[in-house]
């Protein structure tokens, strides 16, 4: 029926119908599709601001070469025998540094006007947070992949073969994504991007250096060794070594996955909560 009384202009917007159409909350399918939209946005931004890639590209290349030649002789006798110990350590470290950048960038992004619009839209509250994090999977992939590549170039021959290395990369990407929720939470709490950076560094440095990433645990004094053993980063490093060097899905892999799941379960809701409170 399209006939209308001539005098009455067609009312394009019908409030009653609009109210009837509303849905009480975003469904899971909506949430996933909205997250992917936000990921698309983040990837577009990444392509347009390529400097975001410098830290994920430079750090693996520089650190791998630097650590190998500086510490190789002292810790493992020579560079060749240090590489299987060190490369998984660098993978863990780079991925962690990359998740820190997630928090900093999210904070910068949240200060922009467009986030006000996201908040006013009927979308899942988690989508504006989860979207950029999903896009960051690409960065973890690049960071982990480049580290292994650089290792191979300077002589690393992973015993786990291609499949083992692939497994290690997937594990590193997953862990990076789950730990990124911690930095996302900090990002939603902190006052500025700079303070996110500062706080994240304080967390990150002890975690990566007080782990088995670069040195064997048995070389450490006993108190420190105890901390290193419970440090989740150590589990990630050990799991990465098991996969890359031995193609072995060990209990370390299980612990790492579990730790990742716990971090998501705790920090994803915290982040959303704090994001919603944010002005």
């Amino acid at each position: 029926m399209t006939t209308l009384i001539a005098e009455v202009p067609p009312r394009v917007v019908d409030p009653a119908a609009a109210v009837a159409r509303t849905r009480p909350r975003a469904s899971l399918a909506d949430t996933v599709s909205q997250t992917l939209c936000m990921a698309w946005r983040a990837l577009k931004k990444m392509r347009r601001n390529p400097e975001q890639f410098f830290d994920v590209a430079l750090q693996p290349l520089l650190f791998t070469a630097m650590f190998a030649y500086v510490f190789g002789g002292a810790i493992a006798g020579n560079v060749q025998s240090y590489l299987p110990l060190m490369v998984p350590g660098i993978v863990a470290q780079t991925v962690l540094t990359t998740c820190m950048a997630t928090g900093v960038q999210l904070r910068e992004d949240m200060d922009k006007g467009v986030f006000d619009r996201f908040k006013s839209l009927p979308i899942a509250r988690i989508a504006p947070l989860a979207g950029p994090m999903t896009a960051d999977l690409v960065r973890y992939l690049i960071a982990a992949g480049l580290t292994f590549l650089m290792g191979v170039i300077i002589g690393y021959r992973p015993g786990g073969g291609a499949l083992g290395v692939l497994g290690a990369i997937v594990l590193a990407v997953f862990t990076g994504w789950s730990l990124a929720w911690i930095f996302t939470w900090i990002g939603t709490m902190a006052k500025s991007a700079r303070s996110v950076q500062g706080m994240s560094m304080m967390i990150l440095f002890p975690l990566t250096f007080l782990s088995n990433a670069f040195v064997p645990v048995n070389s450490l004094p006993s108190g420190l060794a105890d901390f290193v053993k419970i440090n989740p980063v150590s589990h990630l490093v050990s799991a990465t070594r098991d996969l890359a060097n031995h193609a072995m899905i060990s209990s370390e892999v299980g612990w790492t996955l579990l730790a990742g799941a716990v971090v998501i379960a705790v920090f994803a809701p915290l982040s959303v909560h704090s994001y919603r409170r944010h002005l």
Partner: protein
């Protein structure tokens, strides 16, 4: 059957660090009207709007949008309104078309539909040539238009416009006004905040005046302006001139209570017609009251304010003789 109010808010309160930014505001916006919220910077306009738009939690009071509770069902409320802020809330790193596509997709449009809607809106807002340019190259007016376009993707029945023309040049401002009128013609309800009386005058069916988080007056633009006169005679008395004498003359000649401005010796006289200005000047001259400057102007927001809040704080218990008759009598204007 009476239609449910587009906005029905009772006793809205929002405090920041113990200071009430919005302090018990009631608001009823009818369907299909443009409702103007007028007030100076920091009066609490934006805070109130953000509460209604689910962007800020409501500390106390209750608000309903088309009958849907804002605090209880924010997700449903968000589907009923479009918000355009003081600054453009679009993504600087994306093009105009990409922005609209993204917002369409986020609200459940299929990719092709989102693209078509984006194209239609860009055409409607005269942005088709700029569709693929990064926002960074946009002028202020273009950003505002894109921002408004982004609020209209799903054709929400209620549009919030937070100072939509602040900082725009007069031509762009006029275009924005036309666009806003067009929205209402399509059946939308518009809640508009502004610092400009003329903007509220041009657009709004009804206006609420907000001061320090409270609604101090509400009425049609005509009712508001009548309360301060159609035009205002601004006088500055010479130093030493008898202020009381001048006040008496003004009262007698213009039939209106002059409003004393904060600066000493300055008074604003509300006039029902500008012609009365001459009578006042002649009266002062005959009485020997010397003046240093004189001008006749349309009432400004300042004067509406001074008149309304001045009455509110100083003359609340007195019989108000003539000046703010409309306000004092409380007939056309509802004074809190």
């Amino acid at each position: 059957m009476t239609a449910v109010a587009a906005i029905d808010a009772v006793g809205l309160v929002k405090s920041f660090g113990g200071v009430a930014a919005v302090d018990g505001v009631d608001l009823e916006v009818r369907q299909g009207e443009i409702y103007g919220v007028l007030g100076p910077n920091g009066a609490g306009k934006t805070t109130m709007l953000k509460m209604l738009a689910t962007l800020l939690p409501i500390d106390a009071g209750q608000a309903r949008v088309f009958g849907v509770d804002v605090a209880g069902e924010p997700h449903r409320v968000r589907q009923l309104l479009g918000v355009t802020g003081q600054y453009a809330s679009v993504d600087e790193d994306l093009t105009a078309a990409e922005n609209l596509w993204l917002f369409g997709r986020l609200q459940g449009l299929r990719s092709a539909d989102a693209r078509a809607t984006a194209r239609r809106l860009l055409g409607q807002f005269g942005l088709e040539d700029a569709a693929d340019k990064p926002i960074a190259q946009f002028s202020g007016g273009m950003r505002r238009r894109l921002d408004l376009a982004a609020s209209l993707i799903t054709r929400p029945p209620l549009i919030f416009l937070d100072e939509p023309t602040t900082g725009l040049d007069p031509r762009t401002r006029g275009q924005m006004w036309d666009t806003i009128r067009g929205l209402v013609a399509d059946g939308c309800t518009v809640l508009l905040t502004t610092q400009y009386l003329d903007e509220a005058d041009q657009l709004a069916d009804r206006i609420a005046v907000i001061d320090r988080g409270r609604k101090v007056a509400e009425g049609t633009p005509d009712e508001l302006k009548t309360s301060v006169g159609d035009s205002t005679l601004q006088l500055r008395l010479a130093p030493g001139a008898d202020q009381e004498l001048a006040r008496g003359i003004v009262l007698r000649v213009a039939g209106a209570e002059p409003v004393l401005a904060p600066e000493s010796g300055r008074m604003n006289v509300p006039l029902d017609t500008a012609d009365r200005a001459a009578d006042v000047l002649v009266g002062l001259r005959q009485a020997g009251v010397s003046i240093t400057s004189v001008s006749v102007a349309k009432p400004t927001l300042d004067e509406v304010f001074l008149a309304i809040t001045g009455h509110d704080t100083e003359q609340a218990d007195e019989q108000n003789p003539t000046g703010n008759a409309a306000v004092g009598a409380g007939i056309p204007l509802e004074v809190k």
